[in-house]
Subunit: 312 residues, 4 copies
Amino acid sequence: MGWGDSGLAISLGVANFHKTFAMMSRQPALIERYCRPDSHDVGCWAVTEPDHGSDSLTVTEKHFSDPAIKANCIARKDGDFYVINGQKSAWVSNGTIATVAALFCTIDGDEGFKGGGVAVVDLTLPGVTKGKPLNKLGQRALNQGEIFFDNVRIPAAYMAVGKDRYAAIVESILTGANASMGTTFVGVARAAYEMALDYAKQRVQGGVPIIEHQSVRSRLFKMFTQVEAARSLVRRVSYYNATNPPLIQYSIASKTFATNTAFEVSSAALQIFGGVGLTKEFPIEKLMRDARASMIEDGCNELLGLVGGSRL
Amino acid sequence: MGWGDSGLAISLGVANFHKTFAMMSRQPALIERYCRPDSHDVGCWAVTEPDHGSDSLTVTEKHFSDPAIKANCIARKDGDFYVINGQKSAWVSNGTIATVAALFCTIDGDEGFKGGGVAVVDLTLPGVTKGKPLNKLGQRALNQGEIFFDNVRIPAAYMAVGKDRYAAIVESILTGANASMGTTFVGVARAAYEMALDYAKQRVQGGVPIIEHQSVRSRLFKMFTQVEAARSLVRRVSYYNATNPPLIQYSIASKTFATNTAFEVSSAALQIFGGVGLTKEFPIEKLMRDARASMIEDGCNELLGLVGGSRL
Amino acid sequence: MGWGDSGLAISLGVANFHKTFAMMSRQPALIERYCRPDSHDVGCWAVTEPDHGSDSLTVTEKHFSDPAIKANCIARKDGDFYVINGQKSAWVSNGTIATVAALFCTIDGDEGFKGGGVAVVDLTLPGVTKGKPLNKLGQRALNQGEIFFDNVRIPAAYMAVGKDRYAAIVESILTGANASMGTTFVGVARAAYEMALDYAKQRVQGGVPIIEHQSVRSRLFKMFTQVEAARSLVRRVSYYNATNPPLIQYSIASKTFATNTAFEVSSAALQIFGGVGLTKEFPIEKLMRDARASMIEDGCNELLGLVGGSRL
Amino acid sequence: MGWGDSGLAISLGVANFHKTFAMMSRQPALIERYCRPDSHDVGCWAVTEPDHGSDSLTVTEKHFSDPAIKANCIARKDGDFYVINGQKSAWVSNGTIATVAALFCTIDGDEGFKGGGVAVVDLTLPGVTKGKPLNKLGQRALNQGEIFFDNVRIPAAYMAVGKDRYAAIVESILTGANASMGTTFVGVARAAYEMALDYAKQRVQGGVPIIEHQSVRSRLFKMFTQVEAARSLVRRVSYYNATNPPLIQYSIASKTFATNTAFEVSSAALQIFGGVGLTKEFPIEKLMRDARASMIEDGCNELLGLVGGSRL
């Protein structure tokens, strides 16, 4: 899918995200409503907040349980309901088109981000408003935008994951999401390499196809090697995680290596196109913009490296 | 100037380019027309062609004098005139807004690109048409676009540089242009570093400004070091070239190092901004796009390295 | 094996190299003599020459069949014998301890390196002399040294591979050798990473084990990722080559990626040890020296990239 | 000097190190004894300890003043004397050949490393013993080794720098030493580049000097550029520090950039030599070993980056 359009791949991946939590809640009402085959709901992953990007994902770091760090979106228990107030950041994937959210929010208390929960929230409820779609560098096919909550009431049973399991679920979701980013962006890297290879066999400079120049041929072979290394890693991690209890350090290795590779390879591919690579005539500059975004998405790569490093 | 907007800096630099050649021609008519203080002409640098990017600049390579390589734009002598036919590529800086061109064209014959000349061409003459402004990744403030010539007649005296001096002039112009690219893109690198430093002192994650995290601080110091190294090199080369016969290998070192640094530093800066760096809220993603283009502009960096390598 | 000692691994790998060619010759006498289970012969791979390192391996380049390039070691047909004269370079693995050589030599004629053959040569024959073991940076456990031939006569039947199959055999041997280098040097990379990880959990600076400092943890995670990517690639290539007609571009990708990784990871590991890493107290500086040599061994990585690039 | 032998350059630089502190003490007896023109004393810089490498130099970090971190070498006031006990690490430059030390030691108390002093210590005094010269990867011309102190008594006046000025002096010395490392290792980088350039013009492969192959030429030009960038930075920093109050962040930029460049360039140069570069036939592998050590010497580059980063 990433070979085609990474933004669309992510959008489709997230569109069913709420179903995972509906199932996890074991509430027949939730399952009935959201998991029927004819459901047309569009889901989204609402986790980061304006003041908390990395903060909200780094389960291995001390500040994840620091009560002094105040969340931007809080759910407060009120009898058989939770009342939600605050907002999620402009980075919520499918944010402005979703009809239901898998909302990762902090439950009122003094446990910091660790004391959170995952609620399935109907985004047509009173009190929900949305921002504008984000205007951004890459993955423009992926809708992203803010969601605001003003005294939004949901049945307590819709809090699919409570404080007790929250940290473990965040880790598990990050493990799955990172592995999935790995497979998507190997596709981007491969698309960029293949485009550059085709172009290098056709474009003539110095009287010969440019692939015959050592400088170009060396770079293409390096790109080929990087793509094959990333594919091999991503496949091995996917296979491992599918047949064992998934390990976050492997997923992070897969995600960071594949996204860094996608950026390096797409930039190297663009360089082989030369000037025309900077224009809209070929989609190579789009691949580079998509890849650049992926190095920050679902945890910036440096931060993920610190989380993964805690498990070595 | 590069600190502000690199595309605009280049556009302004090129706007007077034709004056250099008017002076060089020693023709009073040309000098009188284009070099008066009240002249409002806008110049452009018309050198690359659709089929010849690198081909047209690599004075040190064999194929520069290969008659089998056919140019896209040819000037043919016809009595006291030259008749120009063909086109220049979409990369002509100021191409669609210029009123006069410093046209680097091939003079009919069998000497390949080496047998070229530089003409000062009034772009309001009959037979001149222009393409659309190029829609491109970076340096969008810099107008670029194609110019077409259909039997355009100019007085022979307007061919300011003939075959005898052409290769030397191309080398000299490339030497000057590359040094100038060096100074411009050190400005871009510095702007990106300064923006990231300011942001890292303000943005709080984990309860402290992110510059206090080792990961961020290390990266900022690396960026600082890269910027200072590039500044030092660019200054030393500028000073050398201003006080000695300029050497192309130094100019190329300056250009390639500064533009590569601008790209690496602006991408590293963007990473420090995280998600918000991908949006239009800060100009950091624009700096990265501008820098990316500079690695191809005025000769792609790998090719320039081969030209420079011939002079070691 | 590479995890333990890469030089020894290569020495043992090469020790049976002549048996491959004895089998290939289909000569009962050769097979009987060299392939019996109780044979104590030590083999060697004699291919590079003082004036021809890369020249002798680059089957995809034009100069491989350039008769103007003169080999340092020539076999001349003389009735039922070949007479060998000249020398092989100091890089012959097991060169000074071998009792039999798989000799890749040029057969008298005008086909350049392409017109070569592989002979199984008894190194106790009259006319064979040897140089001193090479004193070198890394892989010191691997014996290497020159072999000289002065009118050495071998039965014509001992020329196991003739001109017709020579280029194909060189390619096939390079394909096998490169894949094997890949597996060996992933072992080196892994050994270096594991040593650094152990040390970082024990060494205390700033009052805590250094792995708790972000700078060290980030670097360890990067090393982990590089090792896992290299392992994944090397395994996939080995599996592919074992179950399909082997492809040289995959073997080269495996070799160049694994050896570059081994060098980067061992140097990064050394940095984590700090000063003590430069001493003989830990074998980390030895791993770096071994890895450095591997980037040149069996074809320098840049050159292999050009060969591999010809098959994209 | 670094162009010739970096280890020797550092040894000579350190040999007069004690004179700086003798002058600083303003004690006529010390000045008279150590600063006379006919003095034959050999000095050394004794700062790091077995348990404290980075700890002892990072003036900008919190743990520099952490009393819980215990030094390995302590000076205790005893009337008009200091009594010194403990040891300095094997990394003391000129350690086993010095006759006098500039001893950076911790003065008994509860201020951690911040509460230190610099004493001029006669190494022929009773109680001083020395270890063996260190057997190490690079800079083998530079003697380094441990010094042990067992109740060594020195006049109190020989403590040239006391607690009040200690942190400032460590910073100032580090500022000077780092700038000096910068100039030395630019010399190493330049020597490696020049050697590779000469070799590439002579070594023939594929029928032409290897500099004519694009792959080799590109790499040489990159090395040239890196060397020129490092030279420019180092000169500008030296000039700045000589004409202004020296700034540690500039010295660190100079040291880290120059030493990283020396390692990259010497490794790239070695690659151009191919196999012969791994032998003792050319000193290129020695330059790489010397350069590798410099990335740890006088503060490992990552740690220096954190110190420098605190001053941005």
